[in-house]
């Protein structure tokens, strides 16, 4: 039973990663693409990490996946925020030159 739940979580995560990758091509501006990378991919990583915990059932795996989860959920949006802020600054400086 638990194997079936693990497999379904893995397949759902792969499908969500595919949707996020299509979104990074089809969205029009940078801010929408950043939204795809931070939110959708983080959700897919969460599903993968839950699947790994269900598959291994060890304390060491739980600790390492918690660290990975915090990096993906807390630090990756910080990086995306910094990138969008710099891109806004670059756009404003281009407008000044014109």
């Amino acid at each position: 039973m638990i194997e079936i739940v693990t497999g379904i979580l893995i397949l759902a995560g792969a499908l969500i990663v595919l949707i996020a990758s299509v979104g990074i091509v089809s969205f029009k501006n940078l801010y929408a693409r950043t939204h795809v990378v931070t939110k959708v991919s983080s959700f897919a990583m969460l599903l993968f990490l839950i699947a790994a915990n269900l598959h291994f059932m060890k304390l060491r795996v739980l600790i390492i996946t918690l660290i990975i989860f915090h990096i993906v959920i807390v630090l990756a949006p910080v990086g995306a925020h910094v990138i969008t802020k710099v891109s806004k600054l670059l756009e404003n400086s281009d407008d000044d030159k014109k």
Partner: protein, 94 residues
């Protein structure tokens, strides 16, 4: 079809799907209009690689591969922050 076989098949299918979905951010990496677009595409490529390695650790039953995932996620985040820092520095020098 036994139940443990299902996890292996699911992990293999997920690895194939994610390898194919690497093509979309690669397109954005080559065709991106500006430099921040390429940084975001690189972020997405790193996320997909993290997912592939997690599926590989489930497929090959080796929990040691999750350490690799930890280091890759860390490098990914700080890489994009440092690229943003240098973009900001170059922009303020102009």
């Amino acid at each position: 079809m036994s139940e443990s076989n299902f996890v292996e098949i699911a992990a293999q299918t997920a690895m194939w799907v994610m390898t194919l979905s690497l093509l979309f951010p690669l397109y954005r990496l080559f065709r991106g209009p500006s430099l921040p677009d390429r940084v975001v595409a690189l972020d997405q490529i790193g996320m997909i690689v993290v997912g592939i390695i997690i599926c590989d650790s489930i497929f090959s039953n080796d929990s040691m591969l999750l350490d690799v995932v930890l280091i890759i996620a860390f490098m990914l985040v700080f890489g994009s922050i440092i690229i943003a820092h240098y973009l900001h520095k170059r922009q303020s020098e102009l």
